[in-house]
Amino acid sequence: MSEKQSKFHGLLFLFFFITGMILSVWVVLRNGWWLPELASDRETIDKIFVTIFIIAGILFILSELSLSFFVLKYSGDPNRRAFYLPGNTKKEILWSILPGTLVVIILEISAEFLGGASLWGRIYGEVPKDAFLVEITGEQFAWNVRYPGPDGKFGKTDPKLISTDNPLGIDISDEAAKDDIVFPAGQGILYLPLNRPVVFLIRSKDVIHSPYLPNFRVKQDAVPGMTTRTWFVPKKEGEFELACAELCGLGHYRMKLPVVVEPAEKVEEWLREQTPAADLYY
């Protein structure tokens, strides 16, 4: 080391991280930038998120501050020599492996044992029997919505039957199709019953879309050629937004579907007022 190194950089690192952390906390609290208000039964996601947030936050602060502190404290001095520490001995090797192991254990615990795995299994497992079914089909750049009607079954569809009159290609000769209630893309909003399991059957007519309901912690890609599924229980009344989360083209940023959660009876009543497919597609 031929010349003494300035303390400036270490100080700037420390100053930057400390003020940055304080400022971010202040700005975030002031503006309330956080997860959107929870409106479904998926509170486990929030719980895991917050747990990891705290652990990662502590690790972030510790490691950035020690990095900054090291830069300040150990800035070069010609009269000093670095501490020779090659890390070859068994003990040192153990030391180098220990923190990584700890990190992994902490993360595994928070991710898997706070209910993450069981929630995952629940979302993709059996669907409750009395669930409220709704099919949403993405197309550039709007959502078709279909309810199964009183029989609780969706009628067959066939892409060959798709036309402006029949955007989903419903095969009206199928008994189950006659009472289906269809809202062609962009022409209907999504009504969901409060406190009742809702099953989304998700499809796409053209490219990959992804219905995303930030308040419900729900996101599941709509893949053309197959039907994907997810389910949840709406827990709050009111109007929410469904956005598209998978790039689907130039209108991706406004492929919106308003979602209204109302008491179950009200939704049932509203459904009864709608025109069934049999009266529309002759």
Partner: protein, 588 residues
């Protein structure tokens, strides 16, 4: 005279064309990669400025945009389809052309032969071909900006059917074909490079250079090359299949019964998720193909400038190998909500969390390396420290995304954007900057300006934080990525103001890069002449001239007697002992 003669025998005299253009010298090829990479970096950055302008001022006419972009910004309003093309090209250019070719191409080429004591690569002509195939890929990609329907616009991930059906978006027309051809060429170039790096590392090490005496950089490049060799061909296969779907009526990725723009699509029987598997089978290792060279450059620079041995060298090398191996089996974490089998999702959660193990070890070892060191804060060292400063939040936020249920909420939001910009994009860029500042004296025989380098560092480091840290909060609040405007939803419109702030930060940080460009090109011709070993480093490249002659060494190859990190050894005269110093000298 006899020395000259011997060198001439090994490597005869060259004309201008063979010396600077069609050169087979690994050092020239490295510089070609570096300068091409820098050009791509500038283009990629300018693309991001257009995106930032749109996000900061949605729906506000900016007439100057029309002057620059023509029909893509009629009336000064950026077209949404061009915005999609911008994100696609920004991603492609930065990930592949700058941080893969620019980074690996430069430093693998430059450092592997020099640090292992070889005269050149194992296959110099193949090496030259590798660059020129990359150059061809670059030209094709550049041409795609000027076709009628614009460059590729389906995201850098090019998910079909959006990328497969030409009428789905203008960017799925000729632009996408050119993108696929360009990527095909690019992959061929990477494979040629990787073959060379692996063969050279295994077979051309000089006397005494055992694998455990290799600098960590060579290990990093070596693991990277293996990763590339194993994963890039999969994307090549995918790209060829996608070209067939687009041009020759096959249906690998496009299912039957689709209707686009009101018209039926004549495909039958494909599966879009297949592409996602093929893409991410490369796509995730690609993250490490970008990251590992940067990590290893940083390790080398930290040890050299901390004047301390790299802590637990063997463990760190093991961690590099571990990251490389695990990176091949974690790709599914990009696809938790893709419709993939959910049980598979659970498996990928475990492998993904497992990869944090070697990563944490590596970062910890690096921190211990600077602990109680004697830090020389050169611009290269600052960028290496900055790498750690950026990689830490990037790596930690990976834990959120690795956890499948949390990823349901965060997938495809700005949280992901912030995460990968910290963890691989800017971190790798910092690794690259660190490498450029550190090895510039060796590459060009001149020193870069120290003051300008430090200003460049601080502008960039603070800028990166101001740009990407707020995006974590946008993502937590649920803002999806690849949105042309935040104005359409209640939960996104709260961030229109914050977007202005980010945009200003992006322009300031971007402008700071002009300082670097000036410093780089000015120093190349006008910088003070560099010594052989300006950083008092141990590795072999610093024991030859700056820049090294054609053939790298004099008539005799260097002989290696020790490991690369013998810094501040107690009892030694100097605080460094080059690898070429025989053991007995130390003993006295």
């Amino acid at each position: 005279m006899s020395v000259e003669h011997a060198a001439v025998e090994v490597h005869h005299k060259e004309s201008f064309l063979t010396k600077y253009i069609f050169s087979t010298d690994h050092k020239t090829i490295a510089r070609q990669y570096l300068i091409t990479g820098i050009i791509w970096g500038v283009i990629g950055m300018i693309l991001s400025w257009f995106m930032r302008l749109q996000l900061a001022y949605p729906n506000q006419p900016m007439p100057f945009l029309e002057k620059i972009l023509g029909r893509w910004a009629e009336g000064g309003i950026l077209k949404p389809e061009f915005y999609v093309a911008l994100i696609t090209m920004h991603g492609t250019i930065m990930v592949f052309f700058l941080l893969t070719a620019g980074l690996s191409g430069t430093f693998s080429n430059y450092l592997i032969p020099l640090q292992i004591g070889a005269r050149d690569m194992a296959f110099p002509v193949l090496n030259m071909l590798s660059y020129w195939v990359f150059f061809a890929a670059s030209v094709v990609m550049l041409i795609s900006f000027f076709v009628q329907t614009g460059p590729a616009g389906a995201g850098w991930t090019m998910y079909p059917p959006l990328s497969a059906i030409k009428s789905a978006i203008p960017g799925a027309d000729v632009g996408a074909t050119l993108w696929l051809i360009s990527m095909g060429l690019f992959i061929v170039s990477s494979l040629l490079g990787a073959l060379n790096y692996i063969t050279t590392t295994l077979n051309y090490r000089t006397k005494g250079m055992s694998m455990w005496r290799l600098p960590i950089t060579v290990w990093g490049m070596f693991v990277t090359a293996i990763l590339g060799l194993l994963s890039f061909p999969v994307l090549l296969a995918g790209a060829v299949m996608l070209i067939f779907d687009r041009e020759f009526g096959t249906s690998f990725f496009v299912p039957g019964g689709l209707v686009v723009g009101g018209q039926p699509v004549p495909h039958e029987g494909g599966n879009p998720i297949l592409w996602q598997h093929l893409f991410w089978f490369l796509g995730h290792p690609e993250v490490y193909i970008v990251l590992l060279p940067a990590v290893s450059l940083v390790g080398e620079i930290l040890a050299t400038n901390a004047r301390k041995p790299l802590f637990a060298y063997k463990v760190s090398v093991g961690a590099l190998i571990g990251i490389g191996a695990l990176s091949m089996i974690v790709w599914g974490h990009h696809m938790y909500v893709s419709g993939m089998n959910p049980i598979l999702g659970e498996v990928f959660v475990i492998t993904t969390l497992a990869i944090s193990f070697p990563t944490a070890i590596l970062i910890f070892n690096y921190l211990v390396t600077i602990w109680r060191g004697n830090l020389r804060l050169t611009p290269g060292m600052l960028f290496a420290l900055g790498f750690l400063g950026l990689f830490i939040p990037g790596a930690l936020t990976g834990a959120f995304l690795a956890t499948a249920p949390v990823d349901i909420q965060l997938h495809d939001t700005y949280f992901v954007v912030a995460h990968f910009h910290f963890t691989m994009a800017t971190a790798a860029a910092f690794g690259m900057f660190a490498g450029v500042y550190h090895w510039f004296p060796k590459m060009f025989g001149r020193m870069m300006n120290d003051k300008l380098g430090k200003i460049h560092f601080w502008g960039t480091f603070i800028g990166v934080y101001l740009i990407f840290f707020p995006m974590f909060f946008q993502g937590i609040a649920g803002v999806p990525r690849r949105y042309y405007s935040f104005t359409e939803y209640n939960f996104t419109s709260q961030f229109v103001g914050l977007n202005k702030f980010i945009t200003i930060a992006a322009f300031v940080a971007g402008a700071t890069q002009l300082i670097f460009l000036f410093n780089f090109f000015w120093s190349m011709f006008k910088g003070p002449k560099a010594d052989k070993n300006p950083w008092k480093a141990n590795t072999l490249e610093w024991q030859t001239d700056s820049p090294p002659p054609h053939g790298n060494w004099g008539p005799e190859l260097p002989v290696v007697y020790r490991g690369p990190y013998e810094y501040s050894v107690p009892g030694a005269e100097e605080d460094y002992i080059p690898q070429t110093v025989p053991i007995k000298v130390e003993a006295k």
